[in-house]
Symmetry: C2
């Protein structure tokens, strides 16, 4: 705008880059930039390095599709976990919530998303074929669908249930102890433990 002061180019570029973070608008981005440049230059350098490292070093676990810095993540590589159970979640945050319930000792598969046709996210984008192959390794007996109890999460679960059942797998869904319409990440661990126990055939 002509009514505000010209900002130096590197500052403008930094503010624009920060705006790409989820939930960060113009004003927040500007405050973040000012703060780092004025009060935490070390933090800015630290963040730049961490971003570079993460982009370079992180990949997806070949088995569960979660973030990992090795080909197979520690959870998938853990021989103490029950390989006959595969829990499908939308995000690593959901996986963390399930884990914190202490109610689950099987393995995971992280979709890294959910079916959202309006946003162009279909079975191909989520690589459902990869999940099916993973679930058909001969060891998995039951797939627990722990997608969110939102419209999109339910659609994803229905779609996956049909696919997986057509491959002869037992499929269950977290019990409806989880309040309908809510996201797993915001549900308390006790409720999740209960929902895991009460899971029903899907």
């Amino acid at each position: 705008m002509s009514s505000t002061l010209p900002e130096p180019e590197p500052l403008k570029a930094l503010i624009e880059a920060l705006r790409r973070l989820p939930g960060v608008g113009a004003r927040t981005a500007r405050r973040m930039a000012y703060h780092m440049l004025q009060h935490d230059v070390a933090g800015a350098q630290h963040l730049a390095a961490a971003l570079g490292d993460a982009v370079r070093d992180l990949r997806h676990c070949e088995r569960c599709n979660g973030f990992s810095d090795e080909a197979i993540c520690p959870v998938c590589a853990n021989p103490k976990r029950d390989p006959s159970l595969l829990c499908v979640v939308e995000t690593p945050a959901d996986q963390n919530m399930i884990e914190s319930s202490h109610g689950y000792k099987g393995l995971y598969y992280v979709l890294m998303g959910r079916l959202a046709p309006l946003e162009g996210v279909g079975p191909a984008e989520l690589q459902f074929d990869r999940l099916i192959r993973r679930a058909c390794d001969g060891e998995v007996r039951e797939v627990i669908l722990a997608t969110n109890f939102t419209a999109e999460g339910e659609t994803t679960a229905h779609y996956l249930a049909e696919s997986l059942r057509s491959h002869g797998l037992a499929v269950s869904r977290l019990a409806r102890g989880v309040p309908a319409g809510s996201e797993l990440e915001y549900v308390d661990a006790g409720t999740i433990a209960w929902a895991l126990m009460e899971r029903r055939s899907s």
Copy 2:
């Protein structure tokens, strides 16, 4: 916590780095990291580069102390601005708000903070001596104190007013048209224009 999954080191480091941003807690940082790594790797690289550039290229204008990529910023170098007026603000955001009121054609000095004894921010930390030197360049006739109308902003203004007056400078304060207790950044431009017009001797 032992109850959540181990996160790969580069992911953990990125989340920690994001938490140093103002207003960003653990959950928000995690969401930001997941989002960038899953959906916007280009954005992550972009942000890393922008941070590096800003830290390397940005400095403080020698005259106004605002962010600049040159020794003297375009505002201070603009011969059309009135060098007899110097407006003191806490932050570049406040400077932008004053500018957007179209009510001011003088020069600025950006404190990059305010007196906050409890946080260890005193006159030395804010380099008040630099401001005094700037104001005593022989061209400045009036210093307009446009710090926030918060307790800390008022304290800063009182302190500066005494200092500046002891150097024979005329000192004024934005009129109380600005609602008491509020921060300039959140005040509409019309109110600021009015407060500038009605500024009183401080």
